[in-house]
């Protein structure tokens, strides 16, 4: 492990996460065909992509929910593609993930949800946990909501509560899956604001998967566009805006897929769809 660590440092001195030729498959269907990019410490990286592009699979792989078929994922100096589950658990205590629908436990109050990682992984006094809990809820603008059940919260509040839970263990890296999905524009803007605050106040490394362009350009330091399991483009917001890559232009300018004209093409498309049903 020691030699690997030095290699890693030599490779990317500031990279928090490095992906090297990452491939992921479901069964015999390959979703990601060799992904390479780095996320620097303190950077907000937005992973853009359409439905079925593989961006959600990429996120699930980054937090260790999917095992890559090959390639390397260097996270905090360890290749999580090749470590034991015990080591992975240690890394997981240092990352936070906010799921699309919040994924709060319905049988627990908001407070119990946020305190769960602390109660499971630390030996802190109950009074200390109470204080951390209030602090985290305050950070996401949910002070005073600790005794509410998740079902009593609105969509935006659920997402904030989920962020509070992700923050509970003071993670170094925070992952967001579609933070603005299913929220009205005002609430979604509030969640974007929260991400910006976290970035500015705590210099956290943040990785956001989204297809909301407005939100992506607002929060991203850099963004990477994934299409059909490949990295199409990577760069800052300005670089993306001025990109001439046809796929980037199509995505940013919201141009629909060209209509299928030939009867044969249409048949072929249908059979493709049949052979590889979309997830």
């Amino acid at each position: 492990m020691a030699t690997e660590q030095t290699n890693f440092t030599a490779l990317q001195p500031e990279a928090m996460i490095s992906l090297r030729n990452l491939r992921v498959s479901y069964g015999d269907r390959e979703i990601l065909h060799g992904i390479n990019f780095d996320v620097m410490r303190g950077e907000t990286m937005v992973i853009l992509g359409g439905s079925g592009s593989g961006k959600s699979t990429l996120l699930r792989t980054l937090v260790g929910l999917e095992k890559p078929t090959s390639g390397e994922i260097w996270l905090k100096g360890k290749n999580i593609a090749a470590i034991s589950s015990g080591e992975m658990d240690e890394i997981r205590k240092k990352i936070g993930m906010s799921f699309q629908g919040g994924a709060l436990f319905g049988s627990m109050t908001v407070g119990e949800n946020v305190a769960l990682p602390l109660r499971e992984h630390t030996k802190l006094e109950e009074s200390t946990i109470e204080i951390i809990l209030r602090l985290k809820l305050d950070q996401v603008g949910l002070a005073g909501y600790e005794n509410y059940m998740p079902s009593q919260l609105s969509g935006g509040m659920k997402k904030r509560a989920a962020v509070a839970r992700a923050l509970a263990m003071d993670p170094e890296i925070l992952f967001f899956d579609e933070p603005s999905a299913g929220l009205d524009p005002i609430i979604a803007a509030g969640v974007d604001q929260l991400i910006l605050e976290l970035k500015q106040a705590f210099h956290m490394t943040i990785i956001v998967v989204t297809h909301e362009l407005a939100s992506a350009f607002l929060i991203a330091d850099r963004m990477v566009l994934i299409d059909k399991g490949n990295v199409v483009a990577i760069g800052s917001a300005a670089e993306m805006r001025s990109s001439t890559h046809p796929r980037v232009r199509q995505f940013l300018d919201r141009i629909a897929e060209p209509a299928v004209s030939e009867e044969l093409d249409y048949l072929q498309m249908l059979t493709e769809e049949h052979r590889h049903p979309g997830r």
Partner: protein, 179 residues
């Protein structure tokens, strides 16, 4: 007619008590295990547990196992008691027993072995019901309709396996008592 009391007592404690209790609990709790865990799977709560480095098996399944292994035998004792009480209604109404002679006849007919084999079975049923319910819940696919599917499967598979386990243990106890 004297056999009513002993027949009811022995069949309740050895077979019907554990089996009926197990089937009711499958409908009530086995399905609930599958539905609860299945819903948690669909809403990514299981994934959330994993990203928080909390083992979903340890966190969700272990307590259910303990609860089931403790409570199913308790419910079985209750079912045995009510079954014998029900038998006494027939005994008093139709078969020349008084309530107390019926209870005495039942107690005379019962050996500790009868009750114990029934309770051992109910523990095994508890293990079966929890294992099937939780397994079906955890193998739920994506989408709400999959939760319904898992729940149905949990009930059907549990009932089938409980009857099978009952068969195996009845045979086992029979041959053990022979030997």
């Amino acid at each position: 007619m004297n056999f009513v009391a002993s027949a009811v007592a022995i069949s309740m404690t050895r077979e019907l008590g554990p089996l009926i209790t197990a089937i009711v609990v499958i409908g009530r709790s086995g399905s609930a295990f599958a539905a609860e865990i299945g819903t948690m799977k669909v809403t990514e709560e299981i994934d959330a547990l994993e990203t928080m480095a909390i083992d979903p098996i340890h966190f969700l399944v272990t307590p259910k196992f303990i609860a089931m292994i403790v409570m199913l035998p308790c419910l079985t004792i209750w079912a045995n008691f009510l079954g014998i009480l029900g038998g006494s209604l027939f005994g008093v109404a139709k078969a020349d027993f008084t309530f107390w002679t019926y209870i005495h006849a039942s107690l005379d007919a019962l050996f500790l072995r009868d009750i114990a084999t029934g309770l051992i079975k109910s523990v095994m049923f508890g293990v079966t019901i929890t294992a099937v319910g939780c397994h079906e819940g955890l193998s739920t696919g994506a989408g709400a309709e999959q939760v319904g599917r898992s729940t149905t499967r949990a009930v059907v598979v549990s009932i089938f396996l409980v009857v099978l386990v009952d068969l195996v243990f009845t045979a086992l106890f029979f041959f053990l008592s022979q030997g």
